[in-house]
């Protein structure tokens, strides 16, 4: 089996999570979601990817409100959110935790409602991040029935595992554990309660074809927009290197 970078495995999971979406928008500082989206675009060329991080040739012509207007119109199928804290009810906190101040909520309180579905993504998998209850709700994972809400959480992806969101139960289900971790490791490093099958599957590793795409055309487009990330993962001039 070919060796792969952990970021490559996460990008492959992201590509599967995007699924049959038509339009995915990706915020600044999200190189792994961007990598996953561009990988998927090789299978689904019609996939529209709006990279908010682009410094030139930004996809919008109406200024920074256009992303939110697009979401309000129902034209954004998938969005990504992270959090200084994420809790078991899929609430996210981007404001303050343990006396520390974080940048702020950005558009999360709106996009979490308006995008067709939101993939929660945070590499750090620790009890500090994945908490029982966030200290501040930047954006809630659930809304009462009278509140109109187009979308909400679909999954939570970390460096250790993939959780699927169970909308009816309002709880996460551990869907798979990445190679190098284990169900017990995940349990020990997760501060909230979640469901899990008796046997937790392993997250599929990238196929040779996926790795070929990632290190070829995908690395190239990512290097244009996230040069530091591309250098870190694929080396100088984004030439791929096995870990």
């Amino acid at each position: 089996m070919e060796r792969y970078h952990p970021e490559e495995l996460l990008a492959c999971v992201i590509a599967r999570l995007i699924g049959d979406a038509r339009h995915v928008a990706i915020g600044a500082a999200s190189p792994i979601p961007a990598t996953g989206a561009f990988l998927l675009k090789h299978k689904v060329p019609a996939l529209r990817i709006s990279l908010l991080a682009r410094r030139v040739g930004n996809p919008f012509t109406e200024g920074s409100r256009e992303l939110f207007d697009l979401a309000g119109q129902g034209r954004i199928d998938v969005f990504f959110l992270g959090g200084a804290q994420i809790d078991g009810a899929a609430n996210i906190n981007l404001v303050e935790a343990e006396g520390r101040r974080f940048p702020g909520s950005f558009g999360s309180a709106y996009m979490y409602f308006s995008a067709g579905k939101t993939i929660l993504f945070r590499e750090e998998h620790s009890p500090r991040v994945l908490v029982k209850k966030v200290e501040f709700v930047s954006a809630p994972g659930w809304s009462p029935p009278e509140v109109q809400r187009r979308g909400g959480p679909a999954a939570l992806l970390t460096s250790k595992a993939l959780f699927r969101w169970q909308k009816e139960e309002r709880r996460f289900l551990l869907e798979s554990v990445h190679p190098g971790s284990s169900a017990a490791d995940v349990r020990a490093n997760t501060g909230f309660a979640y469901d899990a099958p008796a046997q937790v599957p392993a997250t599929p590793v990238p196929s040779a074809a996926e790795i070929g795409l990632l290190r070829g055309p995908v690395a190239q487009v990512i290097a244009e927009n996230y040069p530091a990330f591309a250098r870190k993962v694929w080396g100088a001039a984004s030439s791929p290197q096995a870990t």
Partner: protein, 289 residues
């Protein structure tokens, strides 16, 4: 007579002259780091020891807010976030927040846009979907929940109109009529429309009237909104101007490093703000403008 004193654009000498127009205590609508920040005026505000400013992030803020906060010019900030992007957390904002020496009104991007668009249209509020259930709602002094008058049991959030005293930003061009060109950065137009006064630095003077040019007009903000302009070549540095110069990522990293301590921040001010003659290094436009 209109109360908005923006009928005829005044041409001022430089960023320091513009900074003198912005009174202590003013609320200032400001763009994010990726959207034509008038950094030369920000530095001039620090030099003129501006006080008690209220910064409004449209919808978020970066270097300019961190500098002004660190220099003690800011009383209050309303924004969706303060970040240096790839250079990480904004250190002076973070320190001021953690020591509770700054009033912070946390917002979320579309509520800021809608609050300004309400003022743009002369209405007292705009309704929004989403956001309900966020802890932002209870803490924000100007948001209100109502039932949709067109439907039963459909709660909506209202963004109260935001009226900045001042809009402040940088433009690729100003022309001889006082129009400014900002291209696709339309959040700057919204700030200009909603503010009582609008100050703009420009990279280069464009001879003539850009509104007469069908290709340039769509990226213009009409002089009807612009109180005064001043030349500031490379005035957005270390941030960028598309097609002219890119963000100086190395400088931002250096700032982020120095500003981690108060002493380091003072040294940064000494080197790059008080000593205004420091040459502005910058990356070439072609790389990542």
């Amino acid at each position: 007579m209109s109360a908005l004193a923006s009928n005829t654009t005044r041409f001022l000498a430089d960023a320091d002259a513009l900074a003198r127009e912005i009174a202590d205590g003013a609320s200032i609508g400001l763009p994010p780091d990726y959207s034509l920040v008038a950094m030369d005026v920000v530095r001039a505000l620090v030099r003129r020891k501006a006080k008690d400013l209220k910064l409004i992030g449209v919808p978020q803020l970066g270097l300019c807010a961190d500098l002004l906060i660190g220099a003690g010019c800011v009383r209050e900030i309303e924004t969706s976030a303060v970040t240096l992007g790839e250079a990480g957390l904004a250190p002076r904002f973070t320190a001021a927040a953690e020591t509770k020496s700054l009033r912070i009104i946390d917002a979320t991007c579309p509520m800021v846009h809608s609050g300004l668009q309400a003022t743009e249209k002369g209405v007292p509020f705009m309704p929004m979907r989403g956001v309900l259930g966020s802890d932002l709602v209870g803490r924000h002094p100007d948001w209100k929940t109502i039932d949709n008058p067109f439907a039963e049991g459909d709660p909506l959030l209202l963004a109260k109109a935001i009226v900045p005293d001042v809009a402040l930003f940088h433009a690729r061009w100003a022309d001889e009529a006082g129009n400014v060109w900002v291209g696709r950065r339309k959040e700057l137009a919204t700030i200009a429309h909603a503010s009582k006064a609008c100050y703009v630095t420009y990279e280069e003077l464009y001879k003539g009237d850009m509104l007469e040019d069908e290709l340039l007009a769509p990226g213009c903000i009409s002089s009807v909104y612009v109180s005064a302009v001043a030349p500031a070549p490379r005035g957005a540095w270390p941030l960028g101007v598309p097609l002219v110069y890119g963000i100086d990522d190395a400088h931002l990293l250096r700032y982020a490093q120095m500003a981690k301590s108060d002493a380091g921040f003072r040294q940064y001010l000494q080197e790059f703000v008080w000593n205004a003659t420091t040459p502005k290094s910058s990356s070439p436009a072609s790389s990542r403008a």
